[in-house]
Symmetry: C2
Subunit: 613 residues, 2 copies
Amino acid sequence: MGNDTQRWNELAAQIAVDSIRATTAAGSGHPTSSMSCAHLLAVLFSDHLRFDVKDPAYRGNDRFVLSKGHAAPALYAVLKAAGAFDDDMLMSLRADGSPLQGHPAPLTEFPWVDVATGSLGQGLAVGLGMALAMQLDGSDANVWVMLGDSEMAEGSVWEAMDATAYHGVANLTAIVDLNRLGQRGPTMHGWGSDVFRDRAEAFGWSAIQVDGHDVDEVDRAYRDAVADDRPTMIVARTVKGHGVSFLADQDNWHGKPVPTDRLDAAVAELGGLRDLRITPPSPPDLHTSPVEHDAMHERPTYDRPVATRRAFGDALAWLAGTYPDVVVLDGEVGNSTHTEEAQKVAPERFFQMFIAEQCMVGVQTGLQALGKTAFAASFGAFLTRAADQIRMAAISRADLRLCGSHAGVSIGEDGPSQMAVEDLAMFRALNGSTVLYPADGASTVALVEQMARIGGGSYIRTTREATPVLYGATETLTVGGSKTLASTDHDDVTLVGAGITLHQCLAAHDILGAEGISARVLDCYSVKPIDAAALRRAMGDTGAIVVVEDHRVEGGLGDAVLDTLAASGPLHGRVIKLGVTEMPGSATPERLRAWAGIDAASVAARVREALAG
Amino acid sequence: MGNDTQRWNELAAQIAVDSIRATTAAGSGHPTSSMSCAHLLAVLFSDHLRFDVKDPAYRGNDRFVLSKGHAAPALYAVLKAAGAFDDDMLMSLRADGSPLQGHPAPLTEFPWVDVATGSLGQGLAVGLGMALAMQLDGSDANVWVMLGDSEMAEGSVWEAMDATAYHGVANLTAIVDLNRLGQRGPTMHGWGSDVFRDRAEAFGWSAIQVDGHDVDEVDRAYRDAVADDRPTMIVARTVKGHGVSFLADQDNWHGKPVPTDRLDAAVAELGGLRDLRITPPSPPDLHTSPVEHDAMHERPTYDRPVATRRAFGDALAWLAGTYPDVVVLDGEVGNSTHTEEAQKVAPERFFQMFIAEQCMVGVQTGLQALGKTAFAASFGAFLTRAADQIRMAAISRADLRLCGSHAGVSIGEDGPSQMAVEDLAMFRALNGSTVLYPADGASTVALVEQMARIGGGSYIRTTREATPVLYGATETLTVGGSKTLASTDHDDVTLVGAGITLHQCLAAHDILGAEGISARVLDCYSVKPIDAAALRRAMGDTGAIVVVEDHRVEGGLGDAVLDTLAASGPLHGRVIKLGVTEMPGSATPERLRAWAGIDAASVAARVREALAG
């Protein structure tokens, strides 16, 4: 047994022991899932993952993503060995206030992970995004993603496999910890590693099968993976709970710590406590050349009706032409969302992700982790496909910039499968999110410009149809603000719209005005944060607010208005929410808005009814 | 050229012509995507798909799912040829009120499709659900699913491939219409049909490659697929816009009708109008044997604290043991959601879907389409993975019965990736949905019992921790109702809780009571529909309502309460919403509830503050 062999095996034993100690101390966690990958991590962090533990943000570092996030104890144990933190910190696992959460999450005080994991099947797409960022930067760094075998059933893994090969990404290696046992029994394919080899090859990858506890085999596989000019999947047959007789390959130990009274026996079987330290290999130099760049692109302006989806594309082209860190992702609908405008300007920073929205958002999360200002767009309806990835991006504190086009029943004839009518509810509910819904070209450009600077998840909702000009190119729209488009000192009611419905509110204002009813009209383009002051003032001044939205009545603009009014103190007055309450079919946009009761005539009718009542 | 050949080719030409005519009349739609699959459909519906067009609901029918829903015109055209409806109806495509929507959707007046399609990559899992239902029924029927090539990038397709082979389903055939062109240019793999053959085989399927316009080859492939004892993928190389020179294999024709002035030329190239009629083969006899069944299972009751997730499992076991059409699906967390209790009782009606939530919900949609009462469960957080499938199920008018366990920050140490805190927002926003959140064992059993009978999508949210007994086994809980657990004729405030927070509200009631503050306590176990009358009464009686939820403040119970109060007329009083407003970490459930401000002490403090202000 060579020196390296012994060194790696000792470190693996330490990782296993520390995973057991920390989870037993916490009273919960996943020691056995950590033990199966202990050797894989020991070899990787000792001799292959090139990174500076003192400067984990350094862009030249190799990156590691633990897609099987429940093996967090093993990751924390190897980070401790690498000097990231001490044993006391390790033993704070899962405790209140500890940055060592049950599943890894990046925190200011815990910079050694880049993204949150724990919802399975998401790490590979994130790794692909990182690998693409490295390529854009001219970096020689590599990305390593460790997956569990249970998560290989997630389609998102195969989306990322497909996209990685398509984009010719060779600096990404997937390590599959094939430990045969899932949460409640055997996985679908058990130790059938040929299955994964065949699939990897069919998806354009190289595949290497190893015994995941044979450190020399593992080391060779890592070397071969880096040398390969294709992405490589290393399928490692492993044993869950490896190294402790009463845990190894046993059912009913998933997510269970070793009981206190068996702790000593488990640690003893692994050879006792160790305090090995490692220094991972140094990262490659980052010799990025300044990007050739001519910022000739001008801010788009409009003097006639334009679809906000088109204005989004124009704004994106302007930003991509102006800022070299802007990257644009398309879900094979770039001629509908108009991301294709950005593709024309910066084709090298435009990635076609095809119809694989989960992968698109995962890649976006990876790109932003390495400092890219990444925008992605699809139909708003189809972003629901990536709801879990978007949720996890919030836990990653990711700066996710998303656009959903074809909002509401206003898309017309294509029918309900293509209509985003639940998207505001999804994005509003996310921690720290910003939700925007402009009504004309200029306001779209102004808000997209701000999205490029906003931290956290931001979502802009765009409309299929062209809408009239409301604002000049120099109009200032702030996130959290609103615009009052009609107002007197004797308004009878306030109409609140955003996007397409704002134009219906303006038309209703005219209808009502002709009848002697004075309506204030607010453009609530910032759905979250919402303009509490303007709404409170409107409620005080007019005593009645009608909110009109091309979205389900649940969870969208109407709920946001009610929420902010309720948060301001006692409620006094009327709030009427108009939105989609039934299942639409196919028809013209005008017909569908009338059907939903969100067109100007319906708004005016509800105002009359309310004022009469 | 044989008689059959000519017959099929003529029908294919009619399908192409009718697809063009209908979309030109509509002024929108996807003729070219319909033309690529015209021959595939002509052969299938003429001689392979065995169904009674007069009785499309007959359970013995073969089933067809058009996963590439945008080719709806071709499906409608072949259904017209089969006598489902006349040409006038066909020409109503996409018109207001027509059941022939832009993408297929099942409607009472349009029973020839079973599920809605149009969000890509979803049909195969639905087909798997149908195939499993047929197997349970002892039916000899087959399922045919037609996919487009763009949607092969969706991971959900590969989830379904994996699960189909795993479950040994041979009565399912996938037909891939490989027409090379997506919405905005070439698909990822173009006409590289070997890619899909290799992947299909690596996923345990048989694969057959054909020229999709050679009807004899197609016919042979269909015969071979049915004879095969494995599921078969037929990879058909086709031409988008086939048969019309200015459309065939041309860019920029996706989703565009032929202009009126080129209609005649296009129709002429296809040989003009036809009025062929076909009679599809008769369906196989349905010789289901009565299910052997001993309904020995008793309704579960509890006289001590139990986790509602456990009560859900017990109730499911009771229902599965009592009703032979109950089917249960698990996303590899059955020992957490407790679906494993149902597995013990009815293992033949329990399907392990592994960690592939999109596939699980698609299969569920297919099962219910064939009359099964299908329940599925996972962690509530992970049901977001299937958000788009759940959205499409609503458009399918599917009776989807879902349980999300591990609700809220109350799961504790596992951390935010495992916490459902946006799930109520997602389910509330769905058309026709029912959202339930019980607080104890008996109410869980009562609500699960009702879910088995509720139409549309229903969601029950369960809690990880055991909660005390609130109700006796005979307590009646109606959907849309609530329970008042504490009330006087001089209440100062109303506390509204559900699930875990109801217990915090009860404890706050006691704290406040000791201080002379009388709090009414409402169990709002029915989040949607919500008990408007009880809430209105509470507002009138107490003038202040505090809603406490272990969920984000956006889109959940608090918004539901405000929504229903606003819908009842002018608002007068105070509504305070307590819920999750920041990103949680790992800690004990008690600590996290205190951190979120939703524990009894926080509730009491907010009440004091509100009453003082």
